[in-house]
Symmetry: C2
Subunit: 211 residues, 2 copies
């Protein structure tokens, strides 16, 4: 079922190079047009490799897509993994926001690929969500809850705090087309967003002064 087209052993130099070219091309096309909206011919053209040759390296369209989603998961979870239980709660969360926002700027294709997949009900990804994202999410929710219980953060819902962070940061990558149309002096949207999110989550996480 999970047959690796190039039989086994260590990948050759050519193999490594071509698989990378194909995946890069596929990421570009999938992220722009979604799974069904992408054709092997488009990927082939983008990669500069013939269609049958692509099928020499991958079992098919779905195989490419799944491979991309796998690869994506790592970088995707990374900012959250870095949430450090030993650090200062407020600044830990605020830097998490910044890391997430930077990711939306630096990896907009990955963000859109992910968004498209979720938007369509995560048909090819729910196993990943369950296996990788869910445990991490639960762990960090528990951490935030502990911080709250210690009085280091105001009482709030950890789950929805994280949802808010995801929503606001990814918005700039996923809804870029809209942001571009609406943002006026779009000279440095990223910096503006960064400042705004710092202000917003800063206000939310501020402890009420108890004099």
């Amino acid at each position: 079922m999970t047959k690796q087209t190039p039989p086994a052993k260590k990948p050759s130099r050519i193999q490594t190079r071509n698989r990378k070219m194909i995946l890069d091309a596929a990421l570009e096309v999938f992220s722009r047009h979604g799974y069904r909206g992408t054709t092997l011919d488009q990927i082939a053209a983008e990669a500069g490799i013939s269609k049958p040759n692509i099928l020499y390296y991958f079992d098919g369209k779905e195989d490419i897509h799944v491979t991309l989603l796998n690869r994506l998961m790592e970088s995707w979870l990374d900012p959250m993994i870095k949430l450090d239980a030993a650090g200062d709660p407020r600044s830990e969360i605020l830097s998490y926001v910044q890391r997430k926002l930077d990711m939306a700027r630096d990896l907009p294709q990955e963000s859109r690929l992910f968004a498209g997949e979720i938007l369509q009900g995560a048909p090819r990804m729910s196993p990943h969500l369950e296996r990788h994202l869910k445990p991490l999410f639960d762990e960090k929710c528990a951490l935030i809850q502990r911080w709250i219980d210690q009085g280091a953060l105001p009482p709030l819902d950890p789950q929805h705090l994280i949802f808010s962070i995801w929503a606001t940061t990814q918005h700039y990558a996923d809804f870029d087309a809209q942001v571009q149309v609406l943002a006026s002096h779009a000279s440095d949207t990223h910096a503006q967003a960064s400042a705004h999110l710092a202000q917003m989550f800063g206000a939310l996480l501020a402890l009420p002064k108890t004099p």
Copy 2:
């Protein structure tokens, strides 16, 4: 170019009924699978109407999609239109958040249809964004800026405030698949989200006490 397949005049009873059935079915399918991921046969099956019969009422797949996007724009802009310059700034914005969140709950299909379109670069919608959304957006940004200048709101970036509201509210419709996987006691996600967003934007909009 913009030929109306049923020639002209007033639509018959059957015409009204069938166009509605087709549009409802198309909304369901388009919102789940995106434009390219949707086939006329799927829409036909969902609507209980044969494919050629669908093409009797619409010029083609794209015509249906565009019609949906047009219809969508109205309800989409409505919550924002209701932002009242005469009201209290803070509660005006907070109730805007609630209206938007309610919409994500009540019209998730529309939300996903919109999200999918934007995600793919708004290929069929950028005229709409320019003509309808942009003017309204600019107007409301100016209104918020006026409130800030009057000292009724803390200094913040109106554009990014609105982006944050859109992002956080739509998140619950667009990323529902993810929310479902992650949210624990998902008994009443909507109420939890509502409370959290009230808390978050409440904190952001609170004026620092100046004793």
